[in-house]
């Protein structure tokens, strides 16, 4: 019976929300392959988090608590994942394709001598074989891939699966692994968003380009983002000019985002920017230039002066939400 191991991402002692998407993805894969899913919790004091799996239909949890997991080290964590996969005879190992997920799973794959389908957005099962779809060339091409090894490793891009609640009871087991000493260790974590929502994790992103003319006008973006509980993003020139923090840069050499709604304000839509937003569910563009390339990829657009349109739209949104 296929045994699918879901590696949890735990940050600051808390389960990251993206794991909920992984519960659903893995449980769906389990249902379609006649298998079972088990959530893997790694850390120093993480057993208390195990029952969260039960909210999303995953009825088994595995906990590895070890002093060597107290401080995050990618090589130590990768070893823990590989060792757990071997011990439980995992047929598939799943993790979210976050910065940490993509880092760890590549290492774990090499340790397991197994293939990795990285940053996938969907899967299908045909005749017992699983095919994963992953974007390539910044989303210009989609590749359907097959991993030929056992186990199969896969990371799923955040926001590709919608978490489905399905309450079940969770049985929790403990596992111990033999861990090496770390080759590198995270000494310090620095928050750049001051606790604000990151562009890659938000359902809605409000993003500004050179059309805003300067950092002093960014309240237009921030006010709209606040009204929508959205994250704020920006184009490359804005990031290069230092108008906004680098972490907000969306594009081919910045972040790739896939929100439900991406609002591009004063952004012309250079190919490299489009590359970072093409898997957004909906794109709204506001630009004074009717020929701006952004309008070719937008689902909705307003040709007009953003200095008029954006404040008006923020007001309209606030009215809508108040009713």
């Amino acid at each position: 019976m296929p045994n699918i191991l879901i590696v949890m991402e735990i940050s600051d002692g808390k389960l990251k929300a993206v794991n909920n998407e992984m519960f659903t993805a893995a449980q769906t894969l389990a249902n379609e392959t006649g298998g079972a899913a088990t959530a893997l919790f790694l850390g120093e004091n993480v057993a208390g988090l195990a029952e969260a799996a039960g909210r999303y239909g995953v009825s088994k949890a595995l906990v590895i608590e070890d002093a060597k997991l107290a401080k995050f080290s990618p090589d130590v964590y990768a070893n823990a994942i590989a060792d757990a996969a071997r011990q439980v005879n995992a047929s598939t190992v799943v993790m979210a394709a976050t910065f940490t997920g993509k880092d760890l799973m590549a290492r774990a794959a090499m340790l397991l001598d197994a293939g990795l389908a990285q940053d996938c957005v969907s899967f299908r099962v045909d005749g017992g074989q699983v095919y994963f779809t992953r974007p390539m060339y910044a989303g210009k091409i989609f590749a359907e891939v097959r991993v030929t090894s056992n186990p199969v490793l896969v990371t799923f891009r955040p926001k590709s699966f919608k978490p489905e609640e399905n309450a079940v009871t969770v049985s929790v087991d403990k596992l111990s692994v033999d861990l090496p000493d770390p080759l590198c260790v995270v000494e310090k974590v620095i928050s750049s968003t001051g606790g604000k929502l990151d562009v890659t994790q938000a359902d809605i992103v409000v993003s500004g380009g050179r059309g805003l003319r300067g950092p002093e006008n960014w309240h237009l973006i921030e006010d709209m983002a606040e009204a929508l509980s959205a994250a704020t993003g920006c184009s490359r020139p804005v990031s290069d000019e230092g108008w906004r923090p680098h972490g907000e840069h969306v594009g081919q050499t910045g972040k790739t985002v896939s929100p439900n709604l991406y609002i591009a304000v004063g952004i012309s839509g250079a190919i490299q920017h489009i590359a970072g937003i093409s898997s957004s569910k909906y794109i709204l563009a506001v630009n004074k230039d009717p020929e701006a390339p952004i309008f070719k990829v937008a689902d909705y657009g307003i040709v007009g002066d953003l200095f008029e349109v954006i404040p008006a739209m923020t007001e309209e949104i606030k009215k809508l939400k108040a009713n």
Binding site: F72, M110, P135, I141, K188, V189, Y282, G301, V303
Partner: protein, 249 residues
Amino acid sequence: MNIAVCVKQTPDTTARIKIADDGKSVVRDNMQWIINPYDEFAIEEALKLVEKHGGEVTIISLGAATAEKTIREALAMGAHAAIRINAEQAPDDPQVTAKALADVLKDGGYDLILLGRRAIDDDQAQIPQLIATVLNLPCVTVVDRLEIDGENGVATREVEGGSQKVAFRLPAVIGANSKLNQPRYRSLKGIMQAKKKKIDVREASLAEAKLVIEKLTYPPAKAAGKIFDTGVDAVPEVVRLLREEAKVI
């Protein structure tokens, strides 16, 4: 310092990518090739380090003879020597590439191995971690700042909502991100000198792939959007559409 930089030849970021007749590869004819942009940050960082500490930068690239044009561009930036591992084209499975690179890297006595965090064609984001795992070296990827002090290094890497400062000892593998530095332009002098630098060609027997591409497709064509040219007057309608049609607010 003895630094290796792994470089991949990739299509230009604005290239139109066409699926070949076999349905599982892309058309390579008439392609504009460039140094993978993330590898350029790695080359620049290596050059800055040897300018400060002395030493040499060696470019290592897996590819066909046609990749030498791109290797020369790396040499023209100032790298000292290059090794091309002969392969008809970049494998679909990054593990195959990483093993071939690691096989050459392991005997080089390198203090640092730098390369881009991902290639902009396959977007795999695996090679730095894979090389490091094969060679059992520390690895930090998506690095925006690198500080080297003797045998000790601290790399600042991006994560959601911020960054992490990661400590390690050399030798190490670093995956370069786009905020690391501003790559220098290739001067005419650099281009001329690059012509005389040696590209050592090595044969390799490539490992078996565990990741196979079955089919390539284009993303579904998007229906034309609803674009209003009435400026601020369109706001109520657009907000209504976002709520009632798209259901996103």
